[in-house]
Symmetry: C2
Subunit: 558 residues, 2 copies
């Protein structure tokens, strides 16, 4: 049985799910012993520990020029001392070019089968990847498991399914039979989905697998060779993915260089060398806006970016203000605000928020929100685990700076102690009140656990500001609370024009930060927060070109 | 019955045709009296003549600043003296913005119905459009009828169908029902296809409707407001399209400014003003590479270009060399080489072309090719009608220059007399031999009836040069003649990598210049000849953004 036959049912279920957009998951998001085995967690942790202070020798990339690695654990504030093979950029490109010409001739079916098989293998390493993710990104255990493991694998499967579907969108062959009166002109036609060439996927430090696998699998399924350029601070999680892809390629007598890991170090970053190389045709990037915009402007490249955004919450009227404050406190605190979907700007009318039991004033809501954060942060069973650790020291500096903003500081950031990791780099959320007129303060992303409570004239101004932020500076998510259907449609329409998805009236265990594979398009591509979307048809169709050839059958007399 | 119901069957047949890619045409390409009526041709000619020396008053765009028009007939070498309403750029933009917000709220069904209805109305004006096209572009009567009438309408229908299909690709609503163990999280989700805003479609002087209607209809069906900026030398054909679109819009109580004609004059071109205006989000362009590349580099715009290319013919081996020479002579002579798909570089091995009756030498083929051109040009029943007239005087200059190229001139260009139009600007093809080493001569588009016969070492060099031209300078078409299946696959593969469609072994009444709606992707978007393709999914999906909103149903206990 071929790998395509083995996985065909799953691929087709995934394609159906893409179009139904109801709940679908191929990988179990809970770290369940029933699914993953009694010892899976302990084994994964053990494997992660065994990898420390060693060369990562799983890759099938021969003859490295050097070995290097500079990852540090935000939990330990200490180096992991794992080293990875380093190659000259031209070597990576040359191997990729060679591998491209074998991979592009592999059928779409076979490519899809191989890629799903790699996900099956990666599934057995979800726990190891979880610990690798914790100790590079600072994510809490549960997020690290889910985001880097099952959720990333579902996103990868989504890209495989979308790519495979688009490759089948037009026939491989057709007879074009045109009546001309006394005779027909008949042409045999064929269409080839021609991959673009070498694809470079540039990772980020906070979501090293979730944000990269869609580009990797999207490029691979459409026949491109891929160079995975991880962030120097978060290599191990995606290195395990690449190693497993290479394992399946080699097991199927294919060149493992079809997907290479291109590690660099902070003192010699190779991202620009790769991106500007004339043989590189596709670039996927997650990271800061300046670098993303530089990539988007490169001539002759197809570029997919997820940059930064200014995410808004519009508070108009609510059913239960306490549930709302709790939900938003969690959304802000989760992974210490280091999600690209985390809320930042909270627009609250100066006249307060309508509730069934009367108006909750701006100050009352600010207090409730701050109290909920404090309760969550100080909860010994939840706080440290929800917050995780801070990946980058600069985020802590930004939090400190935020406390100096001109406006009432409702909550100061504290360095909470994580009972399991005494040295963890921690920063609880800071909450600052800002006047709506002080646009310069909130017209930019303040990455980290920073909430700005913006006092607006009314909900119309809140909507206008949220829309303006999204159009001018980008937005990846938006939260809105209203019990008024007219206001709701106004928010839905105005934010749609700003290409920003809105989560309405979320309470309980679901948050505006979360985007589910097969249902939520992550980033829309329609505002400055990024030019691409996981995984819409454009995300995969831009990775190849339809080329049609034709030849006469013969002029047939009628 | 709504217009969507009226045209629903046609729209769905068109969607099916898009995917089957067999022959499909909704509009009859022959100027048949049975289809169009006994007096349609005479009536159309009469209407065209009646439009001369007058204001074009059909548009529903109020209060023009001035009236102007500078069209000249290449057949008469005289001004048409038709004047069109001129508006300040900001007025066009302001009206477009207002119109956008009404049009975007019209359902996809209703939009598609209105647009197909406009094509039905335009059908009754095909002959008038044909004469308008002849006397602006210089096309021969048959091409003018077909390209600007039925073929353009089919291309427009194709864009409507593709857009309508993509708008249905994801559900408007879905229930997302995620099992969480003891309970489910249920979200009501909805997805909106949000149009990008104002779309500017920039026309060219040689195919004023065929090259513009896909962008116009593609943008309109996806909910954008459109500004049609015709070439100042070829306005009337597309003005009739816009007038009919406006007529149907008004008849359905919609703002006719949803699709405006934005005429300018050679002394005050408004293309850059429009393209750079911040409210303009979409740009479609057909024309020269320099301006196309400028547009592609504009920040924050989605740009679709068809620029120039260097189209190759690879001659390796043939069944019947006379049929091949005749076919290529026609392909070059048709509309005096003024098609973006016309052949220019003919690669012939120095050892000659293999045939079943022996080798035909380079010189023998050059002579046969030249003789076929002369016979066609001098044929009183065909020559002048196939050639049409030359749109731009500069093309005649280019032909004259070509005769001075360093290489044997196999055929000089002559100014043939058109029996119906004594003053027609005419130039028959020039054929020049060029050494393969003289890359600088043939590494650019020489727009017009110019053939370069390039003597190569062998077919491998021919393929390599054709590929190199396409990758470096773009190519929209390629002709290839080989009876060897290995050579054929090599050409198919190498040219596919250069994103260039190949027409193999065409003889008889079908030419490499021709691209059929619903089957041939026109321009692939994968080489420098253009970044877009008529009409692949990307051509329409880039005109809108998917935005998903969501809201909890309620937490339901299992």
């Amino acid at each position: 049985m071929s790998l395509f036959e083995k996985h065909s049912d799953l691929i087709h279920r995934a394609i159906t799910a893409l179009h139904e957009r109801t709940f679908f998951a191929a990988f179990t998001e809970q770290p369940s012993t029933a699914v993953y085995g009694e010892t899976a967690d302990a084994d994964g942790q053990q494997k992660f520990k065994a990898a420390l202070c060693k060369k990562f020798e799983e890759l099938k990339q021969a003859g490295p020029q050097a070995w290097a690695g500079q990852e540090e654990s935000p939990y330990l504030q200490d180096a992991l001392k794992i080293s990875y093979p380093i190659f000259p950029t031209q070597t990576l490109i040359d191997r990729s070019k060679t591998a491209f010409h074998s991979w592009r001739k592999v059928s779409a079916e076979e490519r899809a089968g191989i890629l799903v098989e790699s996900l099956e293998r990666i599934k057995s390493r979800f726990f190891e990847i979880a610990y690798a993710t914790m100790h590079t990104t600072g994510q809490g255990y549960m997020m690290a498991f889910q985001a880097s493991g099952p959720h990333a694998a579902d996103r990868a499967l989504e890209a495989i399914a979308a790519g495979y579907e688009e490759l089948q969108r037009f026939p491989a062959k057709a007879l074009w039979d045109k009546p001309m009166g006394k005779f027909n002109i008949q042409l045999n036609k064929e269409w080839r989905a021609v991959p673009k060439g070498i694809s470079v996927v540039i990772g980020c430090s906070t979501f090293p697998t979730w944000n990269s696998v869609t580009g990797i699998y999207g490029s691979l399924v459409t026949g491109n060779a891929v160079l995975v350029k991880p962030h120097p601070g978060a290599i191990l999680p995606i290195a395990i993915f690449v190693a497993e892809i290479q394992h399946v390629l080699a097991a199927n007598n294919l060149d493992p260089n079809i997907c290479q890991l291109a590690v660099d170090t902070f003192d010699h970053m190779i991202t620009k060398e790769l991106a500007e190389h004339p043989d590189v045709k596709l670039i996927d990037f997650t990271g800061n806006s300046a670098f993303g915009s530089y990539l988007e402007a490169l001539h002759g490249k197809t570029v997919f970016t997820e940059k930064t955004g200014v995410n808004s919450v519009i508070l108009d009227s609510v059913e239960d203000v306490d549930k709302v404050a709790a939900n938003l406190a969690f959304a802000l605190t989760l992974y210490s605000g280091q999600m690209c979907t985390a809320p930042q700007n909270f627009y609250i009318p100066e006249g307060g928020i309508q509730t069934p039991t009367g108006v909750v004033s701006f100050d009352q809501f600010a207090q409730k929100f701050s109290d909920n954060i404090t309760a969550l942060v100080d909860n010994p069973k939840a706080g440290a685990f929800v917050m995780g650790a801070v990946q980058n020291k600069k985020t802590c500096d930004r939090v400190t700076e935020a406390e100096k903003l001109p406006g009432k500081v409702w909550l100061v950031s504290r360095s909470i102690e994580n009972p399991m990791f005494k040295n963890a780099r921690m920063a609880s959320p800071v909450v600052v009140e800002v006047e709506a007129a002080k646009l310069e303060i909130f017209s930019k992303e303040l990455f980290g656990p920073i909430a700005l409570l913006i006092k607006t004239k009314n909900t119309d101004q809140s909507i206008a500001l949220a829309q303006q932020m999204a159009i001018q500076h980008g937005a990846i998510s938006c939260g809105a609370y209203t019990t008024n259907s007219v206001v709701k449609e106004k928010i839905a329409d105005e934010m749609a024009l700003a290409a920003t998805p809105v989560s309405f009236n979320l309470v309980g265990g679901i948050y505006m930060n979360q985007n589910a594979a097969f249902s939520d398009f992550h980033v829309t591509g329609g505002n400055p927060s990024g030019n691409a979307s996981f995984t819409n048809p454009e995300y995969v169709t831009k990775r190849f070109t339809w080329v049609g050839h034709r030849e006469p059958v013969a002029a047939v007399k009628q």
